[in-house]
Amino acid sequence: MMKINYFGKTDVGLVRPNNEDTFLIKPDMGFCLVSDGMGGAAAGELASQIFTETALKVFSADRDQSENRTVEKVKKAFRSAHERILKYVEGNPHHQGMGCTAELIAFHEQGFVIGHIGDSRIYRIRNGQFKQLTKDHSLIQDQIDRGVITPTEAKNHSLRNVILRAVGINESLALDILMGKTYAGDLFLLCSDGLTDMIDDPLISQVLYSDTALSQKTEKLVEMVLSAGGKDNITVVLAEIL
């Protein structure tokens, strides 16, 4: 099994009273995740926690790290969390709108499997190239894709925080699964929109390119968000293939 270094950090930011983001790193099970809750303070926190707990449960129960099993586990983690949140809202209707975004990357012998829903993101640096692997399930992304608005207009869009897909919201779950090979030196960044809404991609990549330890990179990114105003919760997780 390949060796992977991980580091993660979450911060409440400077405006919000509580932190609805959650992250989890499980090197022994070969996965890490970031989830951003929504639907009001208590509900948002709970939703991202449910996702995290569910994923942990699924990966703990099955330690087989073959590619097929890994894909199954990723799918199962999302599906089970989705069902759990829906069920919770059914019993607590005043929490309607509760749900979360979720990024989960699991590694197997040959590569990685990503599960993605919402507007949190996963980036990768490979051979000096910084690339966003996931595509936001957001209203503005949809409007940009259809040519209705420009990326510049998107920045001032009054509905820029509206997402089209989330764990625990609609009856059916539409999950993006991305799979690929891993190579030594690959660096994966999982983050909530608290990072990407405040700092542009070139600045993020500069930090990732810097010749520093993962912990320093993570600290630096959070620090940059806070000095930019820290309007949302910020979560950053890095995974580096050795």
């Binding site: 405006v15 919000r16 009273p17 951003d36 929504m38 639907g39 009001g40 303070a41 208590a42 509900a43 005043h94 309607q96 709108g97 749900g99 975004t101 919402g118 507007d119 209203l139 503005i140 949809d142 409007q143 259809r146 209705v148 608005i149 207009e153 998107a154 001032n156 869009h157 009054s158 509905l159 820029r160 925080n161 509206v162 997402i163 089209l164 989330a166 919201i169 929109d193 608290g194 809404d197 309007k231 949302d232």
Partner: protein
Amino acid sequence: MKYGRYEIIKELGKGGMGVVYQAHDPQIDRSVALKVLRVDRVVNEEFVLRFFKEAKFIGRLSHPNIVTVYDVGRDHGTIYIAMEYLQGQPLNEVVRSGRLSVEKTMDIALQVSSALGYAHDKGIVHRDIKPSNIILTDEGSVKLTDFGIARADDQNAAQQTQTGVILGTPFYMSPEQVMGRRVDGRSDLFSLGVILYELIVGCKPFKGDHFTAIFRAITEDIPVAPLQIDASILQSISDLIIKTLSKNPDERFQTGQEMSHALKTCLQVKEFPLRSEKPMRSKQKSMGSFLIMGLIAAVVLGGAIYFFWPHINEHIRKENKGGSTVTELSQQGKLQNKSGSLESLSSTRMDESKPADAMLMVTSSPSQAQVYLDDSFKGKTPITLELPFGKYEVRVNLPDYYEWEAQLQINTPGKTPLYVRLIPIG
């Protein structure tokens, strides 16, 4: 239970943002509607201050068609607003129990547009005009509620960068709202136009199964003119609605007063066709219609005739007796054209452009169903349509019945009967 000095009497309703109560103000000894925000929606002090500032503006509005805001305050870790207590029903509930007459609908729109004109002059945009925010009081007046409060929420959403999904369906948003652009009073008038369309025509102008589809329709689709859907709608009303729904705000009515004036002019004409007040079916097309479509769609007419053999046979027999049915059908078709105005024009145009090869005689049980050919309204059943050979999409539509539709290939000269038995909903 008390919020400030207000004693809660009972809960009136619950929404995503909070709860509305009927409460008593002992100081003035009157009932108030008390809107209490959900505790977890009170994000921070900045939000509270903005909310209060907003409420102050709204409190200055004094118009017979706007619900008066009396007071705002903080208690139990949240914010409340005390408003005029009304006994009545929101418009969405009113239409559920029966479709409103054209005259009544126009009158409601007139009162709302007048209220909007007044508020816009004071620099306040509502931003959330929808049927549930229009109250028809038991005394018969129209009151616009939730003025500006929703705006405070929107600003919160935009500034707090809080991720969220849209709950419910945003049918009444303007294109500029959907595109996240700056909105002004003309956005409210657009939303009022959507309501007007829905009430007059009986269906929404911008449809979709989920909100991205609705958003796409709002920003891209040109709504079908009301007159093309229902020929009994006056041209002036149809034109007014279409103007209100222009994508470009510059092409709409520029002020509430301008729209009120146009509505008044339409009302003065007072030549509304009679319309029975039937329950509204916003979604006539449902599983049933798809089932029927599945059976019939893409069947060429020969097949359709076979499918409806018993009924069609009967008509053919009648025709053989001396063609009386055909004559009757044609006459009735013409009568329909007189009462409406556009479809006679459109069918004439069609006849001019293409020579007629066949006569499609559409009858239905029950009769008086609307017939559309390639999405163009042709009249009500029974009707005879003179058509060139070709492939047509036929839809037959009657309130409270599943819509019937099929593709027909017409390549037989002379009369082609088509009988449609409509299936009631529910």
